[in-house]
Structures are given as structure tokens and as C-alpha cells.
């Protein structure tokens, strides 16, 4: 699938084919996409544990649900994602390796000495020692990696959805290290609802959220580009599609859920 179409097709899928397992190779593809994501100081801050729903005992599964994550039960695969602030450790060596492989260069101010005598002691070490300060950076990187995994999943024909989870029972059940900070559960499975989930979700207009030059000057989209994005399927018909409520009703009946 073309990249723009992958982005356009992604939805939060909440109804999964509960009976259909997900091929392990597709999960590997998603994890590889996450591993290749952009990450500060070449630190893979995102850590993840892949769990097959059917291998969780029912009591544990029940305990993982938040009031708004009923779909945990429907998704055959859960990928519990965490931020690992300890990934700052070793940043010094990794940065120097980036210098060695030509990713960071003297032409932009990078050298081993700069890493050892400035970047590590003045920037990274203080960040590594101050979780409240570093967590935004770390969480941002986790978001980037999770997003790549999601898009790779969509490209493989899967449905994906990020949801919150209750950390304590997951920690207990999956032996999660104390220093990992819980982020999201990425639910994966084949969609039981139509792949388009009833249409592209409503978003605020671009000029309300993005600015040009300075805050307050809206970034105005070019209608020609918008049309091109429609043709390339990054922009798709918006929700609700006319049959969506009937679909949700049928899904509720099929899964025995309230209407």
C-alpha cells in the first residue's frame, strides 16, 4: 500500500475478529517498524511486551480493563508499551557511534570530545537523573515508535487501537520492570468492523491547529493539495458514513454487547 493511503486508512479499530489469530510475522513487522523509528540519542526508549489475549487467564484479563477499554477483550493481541528512561544509559557511547558511522558530523558540530565533555555531562546526564523532566521527551519518542508500529499493522491489513490499561495487574502478570513507565496498550487484530470504521474521524481544520511564521497566523491549506490527498486516499470520506449505526448495532448483537 502507498504510504499516504496507509495513513489515510488508519482508524482506531475497536471491534476485532475475536476468533482470528494474528500471524506472528505481522507482529514482528510492527515491532521492526517501531525499532526503526526516529529516537533521540539513538535510545530505544520504547519497550514492549506482546501478549496473546487467549494466553492471559480470565481473571488477569478482567483486571486489565479500564472503564473505557472493553475492547481489550476483543483484540487477540495486546502490545503493552512502556517508556524506559534507563535507555539514557549508554547514550554517550551511542552518540559517538553515530559520529563514527557518519550520521553525526563535525560539519554540524559533533565530535567524540563534544559528546564526552559537553552533551553527556551537561544535557543527557542531568536528564537521565531527572525523570519528571525527561519523561516528556521519552514519552514523545515512544509515541513516534508506536505510531510506526500502528501504520505497519494497517499496511498488513490489521486493525489497531491504542488504549489505556491498568498498570498494576499488567506489571504483576507480565513481570514488568519497576522502572518502566506505562504508556499504552496497542490492540491488534483483524477488524470485525469495516476497515474504514465508518469514515475518517472528525478533526479540526488545519488552520485552527497549525500556524505559519508565528502563532496566530493560520497555516492555510492549498485546495489543490487537498484534492491530491483525496486522490491518494490520505483524505477519505469523513465519519459518519450512512450505514455506521446499523453496523455498530449488528456488531453489538454479534458480540452480545449493549446497544
Amino acid at each position: 500500500m502507498e504510504y499516504k493511503e496507509v495513513v489515510g486508512r488508519r482508524r482506531s479499530i475497536r471491534y476485532f475478529q475475536t476468533w482470528r489469530p494474528v500471524e506472528r510475522e505481522k507482529i514482528q513487522i510492527m515491532l521492526e517498524a517501531a525499532r526503526q523509528a526516529s529516537c533521540a540519542v539513538n535510545a530505544t526508549f520504547m519497550k514492549a511486551i506482546v501478549v496473546e489475549r487467549d494466553k492471559l487467564d480470565p481473571k488477569t484479563l478482567e483486571s486489565l480493563k479500564t472503564p473505557v477499554s472493553g475492547q481489550l477483550e476483543l483484540a487477540p493481541i495486546h502490545i503493552y508499551t512502556y517508556a524506559d528512561p534507563s535507555a539514557f544509559n549508554g547514550a554517550q557511547g551511542r552518540l559517538k557511534k553515530l559520529v563514527d558511522v557518519g550520521a553525526l558530523n563535525a560539519s554540524l558540530g559533533w565530535s567524540h570530545k563534544f559528546v564526552d565533555e559537553f552533551v553527556w555531562p551537561n544535557i543527557l546526564k542531568p536528564l537521565a537523573e531527572n525523570l519528571p523532566q525527561s519523561i516528556a521527551l521519552v514519552a514523545g519518542d515512544v509515541g513516534v515508535a508506536v505510531c510506526q508500529a500502528m501504520l505497519a499493522g494497517v499496511d498488513e491489513g490489521l486493525g489497531v487501537c491504542l488504549t489505556a490499561f491498568v498498570p498494576e495487574p499488567v506489571k504483576k502478570a507480565l513481570n514488568v520492570p519497576d522502572h518502566w513507565v506505562p504508556m499504552w496498550a496497542l490492540l491488534v487484530g483483524y477488524p470485525a468492523e469495516s476497515w474504514d470504521g465508518g469514515g475518517q474521524r472528525p478533526r479540526p481544520p488545519m488552520e485552527e491547529i497549525y500556524f505559519e511564521g508565528k502563532y496566530g497566523t493560520p497555516f492555510k491549506p492549498d485546495p489543490k493539495v487537498t484534492e491530491e490527498l483525496k486522490a491518494k486516499k490520505l483524505l477519505m470520506p469523513p465519519a459518519p458514513l450512512p450505514w455506521r449505526k446499523a453496523e455498530v448495532k449488528a456488531l453489538a448483537q454479534m458480540f452480545g454487547l449493549p446497544e
Partner: protein
């Protein structure tokens, strides 16, 4: 409480439920009165009227914002499960319908009671 004090459609919680079904679930509640019958049966079972069922899930304290009561919600969730199980002679699907009807009533009144798949 053996009988409701007023026709069940007159309770504000029932009106909220109906409005939610119409506007958010694409369901016309007037086309199938079995929902209302199940709710009335539950009310008799719980000895509460529809508005009281909703109230039983809330924590109301003077001078404070009303919140969902964890204990109340658990108690009502258990009541629904028991009510669902009590449908003698009914198929599992019909029993699930009974429980889910009450869950739908509470969901549209802002009380989330997840029971998961009822297959």
C-alpha cells in the same frame, strides 16, 4: 417496590435512555417495547424505580460534584448479572439481552458498566 409510581416512559432516566438510543445508537425505542418491559422487570427485581437505579450508581454529597460510586456501581453490576442469570427457560442470547438492556439504560445515563461479550 412492586409497581412503578408512574408510567416508566415518564421517568427522566428513561427519557435520557430513549434520546441516547435514538440519537447515538440509531435505534428507535418505540419500535420495540421489549426493552422497556425488561427495564420494568429489573426495577421490580431491584425494588427501585428507573431514576433510583441510576442514583444507586452515584455518589451525591452536598457541595460536591456528583460522582460515580465505585461501590454503588459494583452493587448494581452484580444485580444486573443476577437478573440476567435469573431468566429461567431463556436461551443464553435472551438472557444476555436482558442484562445488556439494563446496561444500555445505564450507559446512556452516563454509568458505564462493562460486562464484556455476552455470548
Amino acid at each position: 417496590m412492586s409497581d412503578l409510581k408512574a408510567p416508566s416512559e415518564n421517568y427522566s432516566s428513561v427519557q435520557t435512555w430513549y434520546k441516547g438510543l435514538r440519537e447515538q445508537s440509531g435505534v428507535n425505542p418505540a419500535s420495540d417495547l421489549s426493552r422497556l418491559k425488561v427495564l420494568e422487570e429489573f426495577c421490580r427485581y431491584a425494588q427501585l424505580d428507573p431514576d433510583e437505579v441510576v442514583k444507586a450508581c452515584l455518589l451525591e454529597k452536598e457541595g460536591r460534584e456528583t460522582r460515580i460510586s465505585i461501590k454503588g456501581r459494583k452493587r448494581v453490576a452484580q444485580m444486573i448479572s443476577d437478573f440476567q442469570a435469573s431468566g429461567e427457560g431463556l436461551s443464553p442470547r435472551e438472557r444476555a439481552y436482558r442484562g445488556n438492556t439494563i446496561r444500555s439504560f445505564l450507559i446512556h445515563n452516563g454509568i458505564l458498566l462493562q460486562a464484556g461479550m455476552q455470548l
